[in-house]
Symmetry: none
Subunit: 416 residues, 2 copies
């Protein structure tokens, strides 16, 4: 047997999206509608009823973990997702290049994303990694750049803590904040970690401001990528791998670092797909093809599609609807054509709702589709929120991957 | 945006109520039926599947809290609900006047409610509060009378414990019990608390038996309110306020002290409504009007309606059905007419089932209705248990208020 889990980020919508329908309901999705007819639908609260999910916590929950027990923060998944090795005791951050201007003794943030820098960021990262921190002996760090302004920062050493505040003021025109121990965790380790971070960002500014990449950017009239903002402090979560829990091996296909990072933390093997961007321009046919190829070597594949959420955050109903139609035609079309439906179970859902009018995650349950030989057909014949509300599977919280693996008879028995 | 949560106590019923239908199904409820047509229904297990709820625990759960984590007993909500100030370390009781007769060395309970005393109870309370307890130095108390025989008792001092038994024998003709430390918590604090309580009720009997109010009652042939029964020991629960969790301010409108007390413990502001009695004779139009007025100053309002439960406990199907029809006509009619449906979300449910044949709470899930601009219409067109069972929202446990606040985009995100 083989298993395929597909999560379209922020898939869910509200009746305010498109004239009383959600984007998903408004989209023409003949392939998904046929899968609904052949399979069964339900509603899943990604984390729990009335809980507004983050993407990281929602994925952990859908993959079968209790995020209230295992989640420590986003940074660790960002580090893992861009290929960094995270060890017990490390403290990880989501970090990005930003632009600041010195005004008096303060560094005022003028662009939180350094003009979404498109090139030179790996050279800047190399310069950062040459910094020798002095204030706190025994602590090393690694900064890694990923796409555009994005990256991740990892601190390693004894006696560090994730309980530190961030330096991102979350607004332009404001000075970068100083790192500090969280009020509720003001201990030696947190103060030590904050001191390392404050020294790192000061030295980063000294290193970056006159870097040739930035001198060129200034010449070209672009914002200088002269500062680092770090947030989402996290340490290594204690997550038992899917393989140790179910005895099966899985692969992850995801353009976005966060989703790849979550899957890596659960023990999946990452597969790179050329053209998988984590955006609306992603190559969905390439992802479908890669999913089918990965199924030859792995028991199950988790494929993440991010664009739906991007369109939701951009409050662009037409873009979200069109992208869902593309998912149907360019991803599920070839995927279904290429798989052996007699030995494969498929689950498709979202990690949360991102309605157009709000432009951010909301609490509603999302539709979920199961398809395969062991799935009892229900009476639904279209894929959407309301059709899922009358689906034969009812409503529950999280754990979509365990259910998928269960259809493949791979679940461990609890009890005897 | 504005939010309205309405809970009708003991709303749910069984097919044994009225010729195969529940009281709610048998009632003519055109307003609620129209709201069902415009909104969506589901079934909510107030606490969890198969859990038979108390009113206090069910309300905590529906308001978004885990009653297994925060509930310490009923007494604290009774104290809060009648306006007492409860501090960390206080031990609270639901307390009421009763009638006893001295037989030998025992006080035998002859009426557990002192003939539902209608007047003079506040004078009696004043006399009680003048008692000077001597057995345990450093412990003070406050007794407050509310409606009829009902009241609450609060102990304050160092080293008290809620782990004490009660003195209510729960039957007439039996002697009042002595307070004692619970077998599982037989420590210094519990023994100390029991000693204070035993002294208090002995001194209360001495104080009340010859009180002018009681001498008059005896002359009039009424049971003497000469004793105090106390139960539901509880200490201050650790409940994070709705305001601190969601950043919004709420008001509570409830005739019953318990419900007002639960809402106060969650940080809501109480609003008095003349004619709101917590009984079948309550002024439902006044409660609807007060709800609309409160919405002008608060982000959301929780309105509790108690009469449904009273009729259920009285095993009076006609009274319950008629009262539900009154709720529809006299509460929801003017409420819906007065609210701005484009910016308001409404949730209506019960806190448990109180079927006629059993006359007490049962475990079944209760119907829940959501209505407002972000709620996706389902196919239901009437409000009732079975219609809710085919509603588009499915079935879940508790957390109706978080879902309502979520539709208003007020939820904090868990994760990132």
């Amino acid at each position: 047997m083989k298993g395929i889990l597909v999560i379209a980020d922020g898939l869910g919508g509200r009746p305010t999206d498109v004239d009383g329908r959600t984007c998903l309901e408004a989209a023409e999705t003949p392939v998904l509608d046929e899968l609904a007819r052949l399979g069964a639908l339900g509603l899943v609260d990604p984390i729990g009823p009335g809980v507004r999910p983050g993407s990281d916590t929602a994925h952990l929950s859908l993959l079968g973990y209790d995020p209230y027990a295992v989640y420590t923060g986003r940074g660790v998944f960002e580090c893992l997702g861009i290929g960094m090795v995270v060890r017990e005791g490390d403290v990880c951050f989501r970090a990005n290049f930003a632009s600041v201007e010195a005004r008096g003794s303060e560094l005022v943030v003028t662009d939180r994303r350094a003009g979404r820098i498109e090139s030179g960021q790996h050279e800047l990262a190399e310069a950062l990694n040459a910094i020798d921190l002095e204030s706190v002996p025994g602590v090393s760090f690694e900064f890694r750049a990923s796409t555009q302004h994005r990256g991740a920062l990892l601190l390693r050493g004894d006696g560090l803590s994730r309980h530190v505040t961030e330096n991102d003021p979350h607004a332009t025109g404001k000075p970068a904040s100083r790192f500090a121990a969280e009020v509720d965790h003001d201990d030696e380790a947190a103060r030590r970690t904050a001191a390392v971070l404050n020294e790192f960002v000061e030295r980063a500014y000294e290193t970056l401001r006159d870097h040739p990449v930035n001198l060129r950017r200034i010449e070209d009239g672009k914002p200088s990528a002269n500062f680092v903002l770090a947030r989402g402090a996290a340490d290594c979560p204690h997550i038992e791998s899917i393989e140790s829990l179910y005895g099966v091996r899985g692969a992850v296909i995801a353009g976005g670092a966060l989703y790849r990072g979550v899957a890596l933390a659960c023990g999946m093997v990452p597969i790179d797909v050329a053209g998988a961007t984590g955006g609306l321009d992603t190559d969905l046919r390439a992802k479908a093809a890669a999913t089918l190829v990965a199924l030859e070597s792995f028991d199950y594949v988790f494929t993440h599609i991010k664009g739906t959420d991007n369109a939701g955050h951009d409050q662009d109903a037409a873009a979200k609807t069109t992208f869902i139609e593309r998912i149907d035609r360019e991803f599920f079309g070839p995927l279904i054509e290429g798989l052996d439906a007699s030995v494969t179970h498929l689950a498709f859902t979202g990690d949360h709702t991102t309605p157009i009018d709000f432009g951010d995650h909301t609490h509603e349950p999302v539709p979920v589709l199961f398809f395969g030989p062991n799935v009892a057909r229900d009476e639904t014949a279209a894929f959407g929120e309301r059709e899922a509300g009358r689906g034969g599977l009812g409503r529950w919280s999280g754990r979509v991957l365990p259910m998928l693996l269960g259809y493949n008879n791979w679940s461990p028995k609890f009890g005897s």
